[in-house]
Symmetry: C2
């Protein structure tokens, strides 16, 4: 099973192939560096070469050749993931889908496109038909739809539509297997969960069909609120207003906006918490009524009518993981957690705020799950040591909070800490040699792993 | 304050006016006869004449003239309401809005139209732009949008969008007052609740602006389920699937479908309960997955692919108050209640089923309220006497159920049994003589009424 890199590279020489070490290294990186833990482990990694197929046939050819020569293949879109999803742990080939960027068809309620299409470009094509994607990541301007499906879980729009994994939020995926003779499969319904959010460990997506929502000229808003609970309740209560259509409701504990949101800072007072919203224009009157009933809240910005000297840009680029990114740019010691507060969230949030103070700042995103709106917190953490970070996680768990650890590069550790049998069994079928994105599915490499410590992929390329 | 009918009639003689007793009586009736209690009290009523204005100016003229001559004015759309909303208790003038039926403009997310436009025609105009009304009554084919707003509360679509009264579900209402010199007012935001669901007691709506949803070729479905709780859970759980877009989820306890749904009867087994659904076509794959996980449920009809000899027509014409209508056509003794089951609905429903057996059949509609899906039951009742009906209401209340009594013709008694101060204070301003739809707002006529018994409007025209 020794990879023959040179033979594979030679057999693929007629494709768009790159083996310049500098650019290969650049194309072998994603946004894993949001996590100091992942940065310490993955920073040295690079693929041996990068192939950018121009068609599904070239995807098939690449997978066939790499299979024959035992060369690992790690698929990437734009590389905006934060969990090392696209990092080639064992080197080999990075399959870059940038040329597969065509939007094929837009129908009422659905779009068909290639995986390398940018979310922004998919939306542009859908907008021409009065429609848009139900949800997207805060990296909308640069991320691909295939990367979002394979490596993401939800984002802007999840306050209304839930998560990508929910029934109906992905319609169809076309997938190529990594076998001696790769097969092309079409998945719908129950089968979709085999390959969505599987980091490309068990197939390469070559076409996607996604459901759409009506497109509106969403009004972006910032609301300053004098009390943290009141800010959180404003966001959640608004999401529960059935007649007011929203696309985003984010809450930033003070002094997140004061310290990290440069263009918001002049407009917010010390101690005020910030709520970011996207609201359909025809719901703005109703929102005005809603807001007028909350005396501690003041509207400081609306994108359709404001007098700010410097436009803050799209409001959604302050939410989800753009919050972490903005904080990181100001303070390189910042990292984050992903926390759920089951049951009544308010006492748990109060407890975490009391326990950690400025070390952990609440950053809430309203998401819908099982028909009910609640918070996901992408809490900002001032990183000191890995040991302290682990302690912060343990303290959250000790108080009944769930943590989805973003400082892990495997599917299981970043999720619910157990393997997905559907994904694993499909990997056995579709990637019998285990060459697709190796090291990302513990269930494949080490079925007896007990999750007591961070997992180490034994096949990881050593730093030079 | 004695009305001078003849003078008013003469002054309005140049308008579209009708004083033929037979047709005036027909135009003085709504669907109050769903209730045997209302039928006993309202059946004899008729207006003195009917005016059908052709413009807002003619509305103003009619109100000005009737005000001058102390003539009561009761506004009507199509008269499909079930609470006697459009019944002229004191006679006088019925203002028929059939000529004000223009759809003025359709914008992204909203429509502007006149109140007499049929819901069906508003939708047709919106469909040309890929949009449709968020919610409508089961009388969509014949009811007007003004009547829906003034006399209704929700319906098909409320499983997703909540009720008409929720912030954002009505955008703007233009209203003419009943004064010496009628004024034209525009209401938005907080002011809308003054006149929406006020039965035309404090103003005449002459233009409406409503929010829209994307239009889809909704697939109508019937699902037969072997167990009542499983049927209810299927409907509620489906509404809680955030990625599956639905417009209707209704549950009919057996033998409702067997006894009253003629075209469904051949396809459903004895004892099976029926669920009626409307699902967006691009969510049908996901619904297939959802349904496959429920072994006791079988799909017996989908509107886009079926082999039924006799097409059942639109699925929504089995839900909401069309259920009662279909039952009434088979068994004239059938009437209904409107019940909410606060908290966990399943034990309460089980208790009611055990208590009443075939006398009260559950008919559930899934509605969203405050962000949460739940059931409204428009329970079918085999009517015997008014006393027994009252006892059934009391037994519901004794077990913690809320009943909104459809056997009452006043705003307060059909609602939460207290007056709406906003509507009352606007009536003082907009209808100082109390001539608009007299007898429908207890707060105006008898502020001290204690709701211990059915209220009797002292000004009601006697039977001849």
């Amino acid at each position: 099973m020794t990879p023959d890199i040179a033979a594979a590279r030679a057999a693929l020489g007629h494709l768009d192939i790159d083996d310049n070490p500098v650019s290969v290294r650049a194309k072998s990186r994603d946004f894993f560096w949001y996590s100091p833990v992942l940065k310490a482990r993955l920073d040295h990694l690079t693929a041996d070469f990068v192939v950018a197929p121009r068609s599904e046939a070239e995807v098939i050819e690449t997978l066939r050749v790499c299979h024959a020569h035992n060369v690992p293949v790690t698929v990437r879109g734009a590389g905006t993931g934060n969990y090392g999803q696209a990092m080639p742990l064992a080197g080999g080939c990075v399959l870059h889908l940038k040329h597969l960027d065509r939007v094929t068809a837009v129908h009422p309620g659905r779009v068909i496109c290639q995986p390398g299409a940018l979310l922004r470009d998919v939306d542009a094509a859908c907008n021409a038909h009065g429609q848009e994607l139900r949800m997207f990541s805060s990296t909308w301007a640069t991320a691909t739809i295939g990367g979002f499906i394979a490596g993401g879980s939800g984002g802007i729009g999840s306050c209304t539509w839930g998560q990508l994994r929910d029934l109906g939020n992905i319609l169809r995926l076309r997938v190529v297997t990594m076998e001696e003779t790769p097969r092309v499969l079409e998945f719908r319904g129950e089968e979709l969960s085999r390959v969505s959010h599987a980091y490309g460990t068990n197939g390469v997506i070559t076409e996607v069909e996604m459901p759409l929502a009506p497109a509106y000229d969403w009004v972006g808003l910032f609301v300053a609120v004098d009390d943290f609970d009141a800010a959180a309740r404003l966001a959640l209560d608004l999401a529960n207003e059935d007649g007011i259509l929203i696309k985003l409701a984010s809450v930033f504990e003070a002094p997140t906006a004061q310290d990290y949101f440069q263009r918001v800072r002049p407009h917010i007072r010390d101690g005020e918490h910030l709520v970011a919203l996207m609201i359909a224009p025809h719901a703005m009157d109703a929102f005005g009524v809603f807001l007028s009933r909350r005396p501690g809240a003041r509207l400081i910005y609306r994108s359709d009518a404001h007098d700010w000297d410097r436009d803050p840009g799209p409001v959604f680029e302050y939410g989800w993981n753009h919050t972490t990114l903005r904080a990181l740019k100001v303070d390189p010691a910042i990292t984050y957690l992903q926390v759920l507060y089951p049951g009544d969230p308010y006492p748990k949030m109060a407890k975490m705020r009391a326990l950690f103070g400025a070390e952990v700042l609440q950053h809430l995103e309203v998401i819908r799950a099982g028909g009910t709106c609640g918070f996901a917190s992408l809490s900002l953490v001032k990183f000191t040591t890995e040991e302290r970070l682990e302690e912060i996680v343990r303290l959250h768990e000790a108080h009944g909070c769930f943590v989805f650890n973003p400082h892990r590069y495997t599917l299981e550790e970043g999720g619910r800490q157990h393997r997905d049998e559907g994904q694993l069994s499909f990997k056995r079928e579709a990637d019998p040699k285990g060459l697709l994105n190796p090291g990302k599915m513990i269930g494949w490499d080490d079925p007896d792993f007990d999750y007591a410590t961070i997992w180490h992929y034994p096949g990881m390329k050593a730093a030079e």
